[in-house]
Symmetry: C2
Subunit: 197 residues, 2 copies
């Protein structure tokens, strides 16, 4: 089977591997995209696929203490190597996330962390609200989805608008950091304490 | 009823109120200690009783980040006023507690925070161990108590030996801080994150 430039281009977009690696992967797998992707992955060249698989075991613990010492946040952010953990870009990212947590008091890192019971209760509540507001029955589901999205945007760190630039979310800030630093990065957990007086 | 110097002295020891206040409290309550104590308490003069009752609503959030940024602890320590929260003695106490948490990884603040289910399991385990070791049946209870005390001393912050001076526990350090600063002080909670690589 002839390997065309278009095929190589498509495989590159899929895997972010180099031109020659993609060409070879396609040639050795008779132009089969799935096999070629798997081939690249196993060779450690399909960096996009690889990044999501790679274990982020290094990283930084970052503290942000708000002036006055009545409010502070602690975050654990993982990357893959101590080398990246020590870069200024990573340190800045960690600092920004810690400050975000202090300022906005999220309850979870991602929407996947919301307990199932709480989510079920919330959905029932939003549905009841829509009914009470005399919304058409065929729109209730969409209204519930909309209110859930708003809830996630307020309570889940990754979906919050970034306090220093609300045109992007923390997830986007994270994606940018991954792109810039070339390692898998994960916001593992956070704590936030505040003196309530 | 005649109020003797000895009675006043005893009431003072009990309540830490002033001589004249104690004299008056005894006179107005016919020398009845309980009533006199209650009288002082209500007047806000029985400082010892008062301290335990008073709500510690101010305080500091203190972060300790270990050099290398792979390990950190956050603690909330409450006192009664912002004035005390800003003193060097209080700040130093908070710093020492945060460093203790980072160094020793306690699981709870006090033994009261150990979940009942885990405690029951632990007791059963220690009892079984004692039986397996062929300890006399009449000693098992005492052996279990001894092992529990050891467990508390390792896992409960207040019962841990202080890392900078292991002749005292964190509870003793706390009691000293209360005595020095004259306010109720409470270690409310802590978080500790560590990069495990």
């Amino acid at each position: 089977m002839a390997i065309t430039t278009e095929m190589i281009k498509q495989l590159r977009e899929l895997t972010q591997a180099g031109v020659l690696d993609c060409k070879r992967a396609l040639e050795q797998n008779d132009g089969d995209f799935e096999k070629a992707t798997e081939f690249l992955k196993q060779k450690g060249l399909a960096s996009a696929a690889k990044k999501a698989d790679r274990v982020a075991v290094d990283g930084r613990i970052e503290a942000y203490v708000h002036p006055g010492d009545k409010l502070a946040a602690l975050v654990e952010i993982n990357c893959e190597t101590d080398f990246v953990a020590r870069t200024e870009a990573f340190t800045t990212f960690c600092h920004d996330v810690a400050m975000q947590v202090a300022a906005t008091a999220p309850r979870w890192v991602s929407r996947d962390d919301v307990p199932a019971a709480e989510l079920a209760e919330l959905k029932a509540e939003f549905a009841q609200q829509a009914v009470d507001e005399n919304k058409p029955a065929n729109l209730v589901e969409r209204i519930v989805e909309g209110r859930l999205t708003k809830f996630y945007g307020e309570t889940c760190l990754l979906e919050q608008p970034y306090i220093k630039d609300d045109t992007k979310t923390i997830q986007q800030l994270l994606t940018e950091a991954i792109a810039r630093l070339g390692e898998n990065i994960k916001i593992a957990r956070f704590a936030r304490f505040q003196i309530s007086s």
